[in-house]
């Protein structure tokens, strides 16, 4: 059957089981929008391309499926770049389709022309400029395959207007094989045997889990490993929810704002099982001081992550799920007869870790009349029983949400970890709500970052999405202010947001509901009322202005050097 490029695109999206596209139209994609109503795709019209791409990203993180974003050429494409880089840093599968000026005009500085393939080369897993309509179906097939397999990531397809209009015979490839792209899923059996061996000998092991555990749907396998072998678990920001926070083996997040127990445990362990993670600087602190006493086992599907920041004793290139299944085979197959049970072998270590947890738990000063942000997150956690999808902006709000919400399952915490993109949380919540219509989706925001994509209130209201935004409002760009307080002699330059909108009136102006809370005694009742309301809600919580995130490891210091309160 002969189709136009625009029809080929939409038909191919349908065959990839795409059910929703987040986008914003423009001159270079009118042909695609012209055909859109003829296909069984829901379109979510964002109010800014950054909102569209973050929503596609949030959809992907919440569902595990590929998110799709459609924007026009030039400024439409460049507005999406922040979101593409966000998805790239956090390995999120997204396919971005950008319109482009007609091929004869490319290179002529045409109206709304930009070399988006050139611009996004370093922040996409791969990208394409399609110059011939006959290549389009194959490119789309490859794009979805690349986005979702191996280490996932964003893939961009730049589609000139004349290619959208050109016609050709349509045939969508059923299978795909690329000679230059073959990610390694199955671990080398010898390496797995070595891991099983060191694990049996370890006295003080710890699991350090990363986003790869969630991406490869290995949460249950991880829980099995930890419980059966009695290994304490810490995780990165990206992996919160991969292990239930109410389990006694959970020691909390590690790193710059990690728990005392997690940072102490990773520093004193004799064996670190790093699974699907990349030893980011926010995790390791000063590299030369990191985990000096431990043998490090590193499992990752991306070979470039291994040996990049820390020397590794046993590298394993594999998908986390395949690795954990293979390791389980080993551990179940050959229980040495005279070997003590893991609980016995690790008893002293588990005792030490438990003592660290009780000695210096996450805490905050509960006195005084002001609302504490940590308390607000605790209330959210209690009211939602750990079952909500929490998205965050970036900064203090993000860290308080990460520390004080009890995450129980994967894909419950959606946050810009690698790039640290302010403005991410709210549009991501819109995407997450599209993916999970029956779950409560809450954006834990700050008064600074919420204003970066506040225009998406119109989107949430327009599609009746009952997303809740809880603003922890301190009138500051709080995390930068905290650094200024601690390391820059309280020189609060450019971090005080003196002029801010009335968020309650703003919510109402957009057709959403708005609440303001200033009294600690009312936090719980107002949040409960807001969460029960079947519409978009902003809850503006006026918090203690100069509350800090603790613990904190100063940049460049060892992670055992924590500022505790």
């Amino acid at each position: 059957m002969e189709l136009t490029g625009a029809q080929i695109l939409l038909e191919s999206l349908r065959r990839e089981d795409v059910d929703v596209v987040f986008g914003f139209p423009g001159g270079a994609v009118i042909d695609i929008y012209d055909q859109l109503p003829n296909y069984p795709l829901r379109h979510v019209l964002a109010r800014h391309e950054q909102g569209a791409i973050h929503a596609a990203d949030g959809y992907a993180r919440a569902s595990g499926r590929v998110g799709v974003c459609l924007v026009t050429s030039g400024p439409g494409a460049t507005n999406a770049v922040t979101g593409i880089a966000t998805a790239y840093m956090d390995s999120v599968p997204v396919v971005v389709i950008t319109g482009q000026v007609p091929t004869p005009l490319i290179g002529n500085d045409a109206f709304q022309e930009v070399d988006i393939v050139g611009i996004t080369r370093p922040c996409t897993k791969h990208n394409y400029l399609v110059k011939d309509v006959r290549d389009l179906a194959g490119v789309i097939k490859e794009a979805f395959y690349l986005a979702a397999t191996g280490r996932p990531g964003p893939v961009l397809i730049d589609l000139p207007k004349d290619v959208q209009q050109a016609r050709c015979e349509y045939k969508y490839p059923k299978t795909i094989k690329m000679r230059s792209y073959n990610p390694t899923y199955t671990p080398n059996p010898k390496q797995v045997a070595k891991v099983a061996d060191v694990l049996r000998k370890a006295k003080k092991p710890i699991i350090y889990a990363g986003g790869g555990v969630i991406a490869s749907t290995a949460g249950d396998d991880l829980v099995w490993l930890a419980r059966s072998q009695q290994i304490p678990v810490t995780a990165t920001l990206m992996a919160l929810g991969c292990f239930p926070a109410n389990d006694s083996l959970w020691v909390g997040m590690l790193g710059m704002h990690g728990t005392y127990a997690a940072n102490m445990a990773i520093s004193h362990a004799d064996l670190i099982l790093a699974i699907g993670t990349r030893f980011d600087d926010r995790v390791t602190g000063k590299l030369s001081e990191f985990a000096k006493n431990a043998k490090i086992v590193h499992i990752d599907i991306d070979p470039t992550s291994i040996q990049k920041n820390v020397p590794v004793h046993i590298p394993v290139v594999a998908d986390c799920k395949s690795f954990l299944a293979a390791l389980r085979g080993h551990l179940e197959a050959a229980p040495a007869e005279d070997a003590p049970a893991p609980a016995e072998r690790h008893a002293a270590w588990l005792g030490t870790v438990a003592a660290w947890k009780t000695e210096k738990p996450l805490t905050y000063d509960q006195n005084g009349g002001a609302i504490k942000p940590q308390y607000v997150v605790e209330v959210i956690s209690r009211l939602t029983k750990g079952e909500a999808v929490i998205t965050t902006e970036v900064g203090q709000n993000q860290m308080w949400a990460a520390q004080f919400y009890q995450f129980l399952r994967p894909r419950s915490f959606i946050s810009s970890g690698g790039l640290g993109t302010m403005g991410f949380g709210f549009p991501a919540a819109i995407g997450a709500q599209m993916a999970c219509p029956d779950r409560l989706v809450i954006d834990v925001a700050g008064d600074g970052s919420i204003q970066m994509c506040i225009q998406e209130l119109a989107t949430a209201v327009c599609y009746d999405l009952p997303v809740k935004i809880v603003i922890l409002n301190n009138g500051y760009l709080g995390m930068v202010r905290q650094w200024q307080e601690l390391f820059y002699k309280k020189n609060y330059c450019a971090t005080c947001l003196d002029v801010a909108p009335d968020f309650v009136k703003l919510a109402e102006a957009y057709g959403a509901a708005g609440y303001r809370v200033t009294d600690p005694a009312q936090v719980e009742s107002v949040l409960a009322e807001a969460f029960a309301l079947p519409k978009t809600v902003i809850v503006d919580v006026v918090i203690d202005r100069e509350e800090n995130v603790a613990p904190m490891v100063p940049a460049g210091k060892s992670i055992t050097e924590m500022i505790l309160v």
Binding site: R121, L129, R179, S180, P303
Partner: protein, 160 residues
């Protein structure tokens, strides 16, 4: 340490930019770079010489392999290989200098590919060391211009 990397890539637009961008974006150094077609129509061979310690070169190799357009990366440093580079030199060869320049050309097994009244263009092939030595020797006559291809290299055949 200097490493020679042989990189087999898809011959399609933007591939050079992906490789070059990888080096600049991650702060790696390109000393020489050469790209040309292979016997297979849709594949190109890139030869890059770079500088770095073992950990950095290991990262470079892995990052290059990660590019979707890369088929194969071989680090030829440490394996038995042959390395050659070609260079053209425009040398001042006026009057009495000419005979001596031509003698050096002969000793280095260079070719004279262009002759004019006051200068010669010389073609030479060899390792980086040989090219360096020739430049050193000819400098006192006056080298007006050089153009170099950058290294190309190939693993040697099995000897046993």
């Amino acid at each position: 340490m200097r490493h020679i990397l042989s990189i087999l890539v898809e011959d399609e637009p933007g591939v050079l930019s992906r490789v070059a961008g990888l080096f600049s974006g991650r702060g790696y150094n390109i000393e020489t770079l050469n790209v040309a077609p292979t016997l297979t129509e849709d594949l190109s061979m890139m030869t890059i010489t770079t500088e770095g310690d073992e950990a950095i070169v290991e990262q470079i190799v892995k990052q290059l392999r990660k590019l979707v357009t890369t088929l194969k990366v071989v680090d030829l440093t440490g394996v038995k290989s042959v390395e050659r580079e070609m260079m053209l030199l425009r040398v001042d060869a006026e009057g009495s200098k000419r005979a001596e320049v031509l003698r050096i050309v002969d000793i280095f097994r260079c070719k004279v590919v262009d002759v004019s009244l006051d200068e010669l263009i010389i073609e030479v092939t060899g390792t980086q060391d040989k090219l360096g030595a020739l430049i050193n020797l000819l400098q006192r006559f006056g080298i007006k211009e050089i153009a170099r291809t950058g290294a190309v290299a190939m693993r040697r055949g099995m000897q046993e």
